[in-house]
């Protein structure tokens, strides 16, 4: 772990020395997020989002545990118990609005974190495992958020559950049986609500476990940085504490201001009004869509309207899952010797003018009604999405001639690395 020049933990206080011998927890913290963890000195604010994601995970767990003290997972009373939280429980409205908007912000933060990874090719060796675990975390987050949205038992909850479990029906042979098994019935009902509550409580702790592995894997090579040049020497790094505790603290402050502006002034902006109508199994809302953070994948699902060897429905489901699964292969699809998009002119163009607009279009279409022209636009964007990862990225990364890289992080920051880095020895060897 870490670099040879990492500071060693040396407790002064006898109590801390005792603890260090019996259970070296403070040492673990010191080496993970303290002065004992050297980090590249040039990290930009895009590197704040991992810590922000961790913060929102904790926030979801804390507010979620509180909500579970007042919520009842039974179809007869679930909707009412949520209104009870909103109106009768002391500060219940704050807990619920924080939890609901917290999920949205968790996804905003994670999307930025992931797209940081795309641009800086953070997934490249030696960080493949960090990336793979990250994608697993993202899949777990999607499952957790989906099941959480079912709990208030509003119209969108019910029809969301119906549509998403319906996806599994597309699987040949076992599909219909699988759906019934997942729901414990022929349509979402009490059995489904209860198990979703059980799993919605469980999964965040599984995510927390996966995050520990993610960070463990991160601490072996250490963080990458905006140049993508690996750390070579001590002057390339600064200790995590106080430098990045301060930078992350500032970022967290900004994030919290924006977050609570939503919680206090527009708590329902990211939600759907239909979810304030109790679930009615006999009537589907005219326009059903998932939560905004699923829009791009929902657009991909709906883009398949024609049979081609396989039924349209199966294509849609396969494409939707593949859209995320393709991320698992990125470390091997991107063949460039250089990581950072700053030194890859062509790659950068396809990122800003290809992938980003494509995602924006998918986001938009996922929330639009299932009509023309949105269906056709989704089809084009879906085609580009897969083309980008499976064709454009491998080709561009193989043929592109990257710009010259700085010799070291220090040179990138200071313009020269002679004195700063190797001190007197640099003069001698120069």
């Amino acid at each position: 772990m870490s670099f040879p020049w990492a500071k060693d933990y040396q407790p002064q206080n006898p109590l801390m020395r005792f603890l260090d011998e019996k259970l070296p927890l403070p040492r673990l913290v010191y080496n993970a997020v303290g002065a004992g963890y050297p980090v590249p000195r040039n990290l930009s604010y895009f590197w704040n989002f991992g810590v922000l994601a961790g913060f929102f995970l904790v926030l979801q767990i804390v507010t979620g545990v509180v909500l579970a003290m007042h919520y009842a997972p039974n179809t007869l009373v679930a909707f009412g118990s949520v209104e009870h939280i909103m109106r009768d429980v002391n500060w219940g409205w704050l807990m619920r609005y924080t939890h609901a908007n917290g999920a949205s912000f968790f996804f905003i933060v994670i999307y930025i974190h992931i797209f940081r990874g795309f641009f800086y090719a953070s997934y490249k060796p030696p960080r493949e495992m960090i990336w793979l675990l990250g994608v697993v975390i993202f899949l777990l987050m999607m499952a957790t958020a989906f099941m959480g949205y079912v709990l208030p038992w509003g119209q969108m909850s019910f029809w969301g559950a119906q549509v998403i479990t319906g996806l599994f029906e597309a699987i040949p042979l076992v599909g219909p049986g699988l759906k019934t098994w997942l729901l414990g019935g022929f349509a979402p009902d009490n059995a489904a609500l209860n198990r979703f509550f059980s799993l919605h409580y469980l999964l965040p702790f599984v995510i927390a476990g996966a995050v520990i592995l993610h960070i463990w894997a991160l601490h072996i090579p250490g963080s990458s940085n905006p140049t993508g040049v690996e750390v070579k020497q001590e002057s390339d790094t600064v200790p995590f504490h106080p430098y990045y505790t301060a930078k992350d603290g500032f970022g967290l402050g900004v994030a919290l201001i924006i977050f609570f502006a939503f919680v206090f002034f527009m708590p329902n902006m990211l939600g759907h009004p239909d979810n304030y109508i109790e679930a009615n199994p006999l009537s589907t809302p005219a326009h059903i869509v998932p939560e905004w953070y699923f829009y791009p994948f929902y657009a991909i699902l709906r883009a398949f309207t024609f049979d081609f060897i396989l039924p349209a429905k199966l294509w849609g489901v396969l494409a939707m899952f593949s859209a995320i699964l393709v991320w698992f292969f990125l470390p091997w699809l991107d063949k460039s010797p250089v990581r950072s998009g700053h030194y890859r002119p062509l790659f950068r163009k396809f990122f800003w003018f290809g992938l980003i607009p494509c995602m924006a279009v998918l986001f938009y279409c996922g929330g639009a009604p299932a009509e023309e022209p949105y269906v056709m636009i989704s089809q084009i964007a879906t085609a580009y999405y897969f083309l980008h990862f499976l064709v454009i990225l491998p080709i561009v990364s193989s043929i592109e001639r990257p710009d010259p890289l700085p010799f070291s992080i220090t040179e990138a920051v200071l313009g020269s690395d002679d004195n700063a880095v190797l001190g007197d020895k640099a003069q001698a060897t120069a």
């Binding site: 998403i164 029906e169 098994w181 019935g185 059995a191 198990r195 005219a286 849609g316």
Partner: protein
């Protein structure tokens, strides 16, 4: 390295078939534990399947004497909607005029109704795409491009025989098992 263990003879306790007794015990014990572990999966997996009370809610009776030509009613079967529609002659002709082989899920209207009751169409109100309730059963709702049902979720159009004609749904709206006695329709 192994000289300090002091039980070098153990290696010699090998049967004629070359199997050590210890290997046999190990394989037997691990296999027994493995079978046991697999057996515990059965209750863990099947507890998620529909419970007895959910399976029990399985017939619905309806009085259809008041259902006029061109009208529909929505009922509930197994907690899911069912559409019962008395087709107009024009709707029946429209359904029969279609070339069955050109359909995604080829079925004639006759195959989807009971003999002698071709005008009475009983289908589950569950879109075969992802399970939304299609529109078209109530007065004034969008019936889609083929005059039957329209699913607003992802735009599936069903015709007057509730067969899939356009959009992502793979199958016709499902016809549940039902029988008709006089003016009563028994579903399930």
């Amino acid at each position: 390295m192994a000289t300090t263990t002091g039980n070098a003879e153990v290696a010699d306790v090998t049967g004629e078939d070359g199997v050590r007794r210890r290997d046999f015990i190990e394989i037997a014990a691990v296999s027994a534990a493995g079978v046991g572990a697999l057996a515990t999966l059965v209750p863990l997996v099947t507890q998620m399947a529909p419970s007895a009370d959910v399976l029990a809610e399985s017939t619905t009776e309806l009085d259809i004497s008041a259902l006029d030509v061109g009208q529909s009613i929505k009922a509930v079967f197994r907690k899911q909607p069912v559409f019962v529609r008395r087709l107009t002659p024009a709707e029946i002709t429209a359904a029969n005029d279609v070339d069955v082989d050109s359909l995604r899920d080829p079925q004639t209207l006759a195959e989807r109704t009971l003999p002698g009751h071709e005008e009475l169409l009983v289908v589950m109100g569950v879109c075969t795409h992802l399970g939304c309730v299609p529109l078209g059963a109530a007065e004034g709702e969008n019936k889609g491009e083929f005059g039957g049902y329209f699913c607003p979720c992802h735009g599936s159009h069903y015709d007057t025989a509730a067969r899939i004609r356009k959009g992502p749904a793979p199958k016709n709206l499902q016809v549940p098992e039902y029988s008709i006695s006089d003016t009563t329709l028994v579903i399930g």
